[in-house]
């Protein structure tokens, strides 16, 4: 193949892209949709349930304060600290629950795997930026709140190329 033909073919390949749809995701306006409701773990079978590993969610009525999540995090990020909580739960004699520092968390989800009481899950919320380091520390009361997520954009493949519909 000659030099001229090669260059024309390369240009032609680029020109075809004028007709192809835009693949870029316009992030703050559009948000990607994820499979499932976030990463969860079923201790009875020992297998997780697929989902995004985002911000955690803590169920106060299940947490027994056993510290297994904190122990699991010790070798990874040391992001989980057990703190005193004011509300007295029946199953939680010591009244301690995990407090997570998202400045340190690496979102590996090993704490969720460690929890034997279905108390700690991960949600689809990944927008955790804050103006201060203290703002990244989530107390048990903050972790109890289910985040509001509006994520609806998915990759769609059409005859005119892939796009985030």
């Amino acid at each position: 193949m000659g030099t001229a033909t090669g260059i024309i073919r390369a240009l032609n390949s680029g020109i075809k892209h004028i007709a192809i749809k835009r693949f870029t995701l316009r992030y703050p306006e559009e948000k990607l949709k994820f499979a499932g409701d976030g990463y969860q773990f079923d201790p009875s079978t020992g297998v997780g349930i697929a989902g995004l590993k985002g911000r955690h969610m803590l169920f106060h009525d299940h947490c027994t304060g056993c510290q297994l999540c904190s122990i699991a995090c010790e070798g990874v990020a040391e992001a989980i600290a057990m703190v005193k909580v004011p509300d007295q739960q029946k199953q939680n004699k010591k009244s301690i629950m995990p407090q997570i520092d998202y400045g340190k968390c690496v979102f590996c989800g090993l704490c969720v795997d460690a929890c034997p009481f279905y108390a700690l899950y991960m949600t689809n919320d990944y927008e955790l930026s804050s103006f201060s380091k203290e703002g990244l520390i989530y107390t048990p009361a903050q972790l109890q709140v289910k985040p509001y997520v509006a994520q609806d954009s998915e990759i769609q493949i059409t005859s005119r190329g892939a796009t985030h519909g």
């Binding site: 090669g6 390369a10 079978t45 090993l110 460690a114 892939a162």
Partner: protein, 378 residues
């Protein structure tokens, strides 16, 4: 005056014609490393790669963490290829602890590792494009990578650093309807990367810049101990997926791509051919995978190795063979962990390839070695 200086800093008496240049470590054309080149006019006389700027002591860190908490930090050397970096470690721990992996988990692992190989190679290709001043080749791979990152995110819950493999299988089962989505996106991805041949690989400008530069002969490639795509580009048919099949690779039809030239062009094309092959492997694995079943053998909370024992496992990563040597002394932590990475083995060839080349060819030869600085430093 025989005082010892770090390389590149010592005052040395040189020929007036020779000039020493430090490329990096803050140069966009070098990655996190420094290449000390001595040039005579426009030609390189000698070259001394100086890695080690991003060393983080992964091997020592592994001695203080147990077999499970080692997983998140061991995948940090190559975050785009995190499943393949973790693969030999996981295989080794499985043999040390003595657990069997369910059949479905093996297929899930193959799919995850092939997707990761493509994600890594696309990133590498994007940088190769921008090194040569071909900005279209930076935009396209960086965009098309998203198709596969989306699949990995559905599969494991993270876009990079998945922490998906564990001794005994994988962390979670595939989400519902994953097979269809995966097949559709992988097919489209294959169609997209085939378009790269017109714009990049058959482009006369690329051919003029990379053909016959940095030629590594077949004998030299074997003698220097290179691996992966560099070895295959020099005409050696060597791929661990076919030579030493691990998990279910022996049940899959894996074709090894070999090119005979051994120049920068061949070294840049073999990873692209491997990506097309990876698409084939993913399709085969999706077809042969058991449709249901367990994906993880339940492991005790703190697994221990059985007595004084050692194991060496290696897999084919995006950059070549990646070995992991684990010594256990019966405790919950490994006694010693050693990674043998493809990046470092390929870097050894750089001084030989650059001798006599023009300085302008340095980026194309250097990045065609399929080198990832962070992995080499570990």
């Amino acid at each position: 005056m025989t005082e010892k200086f770090p390389p590149g800093l010592a005052l040395q008496k040189v020929d007036e014609r020779i000039m020493t240049l430090n490329v990096g470590p803050q140069h966009p054309g070098s990655g996190h490393m420094r290449i000390i080149v001595q040039i005579d006019g426009d030609y390189i006389v000698a070259c001394d790669p100086d890695p080690g700027y991003v060393h983080r002591g992964e091997e020592k860190m592994a001695e203080y963490r147990n077999y499970i908490t080692n997983i998140p930090h061991l995948e940090r050397p190559v975050i785009h290829d995190s499943c393949n970096v973790l693969y030999p470690y996981v295989l080794g721990v499985e043999e040390l602890v003595g657990i069997e992996v369910p059949e479905r988990a093996k297929y899930v692992r193959v799919i995850a590792s092939e997707l990761n190989r493509c994600i890594y190679t696309m990133y590498w290709l994007a940088i190769y494009g921008i090194f040569l001043g071909h900005s279209t080749m930076f935009m396209w791979p960086a965009g098309d990578r998203e198709l596969l990152i989306d699949l990995m995110e559905k599969m494991s819950g993270a876009r990079v650093t998945h922490a998906h493999f564990v001794p005994g299988g994988v962390r979670n089962d595939l989400p519902p309807n994953f097979e269809d989505v995966c097949l559709r996106q992988v097919n489209y991805f294959e169609k997209r990367i085939k378009e790269y041949s017109a714009v990049f690989y058959d482009n006369p400008i690329l051919i003029a810049r990379t053909k016959d530069t940095g030629v590594l002969s077949r004998e030299d490639a074997i003698r220097l101990g290179t691996t992966g795509s560099v070895l295959r580009a020099s005409g050696v048919d060597y791929d661990l997926r076919t030579k030493e099949p691990y998990d279910v690779y022996e049940e899959l039809d894996v074709h090894t791509n070999v090119m005979k030239e051994g120049d920068s062009y061949a070294r840049s094309k073999v990873p692209w051919l491997d990506m097309l092959e990876s698409c084939n492997i993913i399709r085969q694995a999706l077809q042969k995978m058991p449709k249901s079943g367990s994906v993880r053998t339940k492991l005790k909370p703190n697994p221990k190795g059985k007595g004084l024992n050692s194991v060496y496992k290696r897999v084919e990563s995006g950059r070549g063979s990646l070995g992991c040597y684990i010594v256990s002394d019966g405790k919950t932590e490994p006694y010693r962990l050693k990674l043998s990475v493809g990046s470092f083995r390929n870097l050894i060839a750089l001084p030989y390839l650059l001798k006599g080349e023009k300085l302008g060819n340095m980026p194309s030869v250097y990045w065609s070695l399929n080198y990832w600085p962070v992995e080499a430093d570990r």
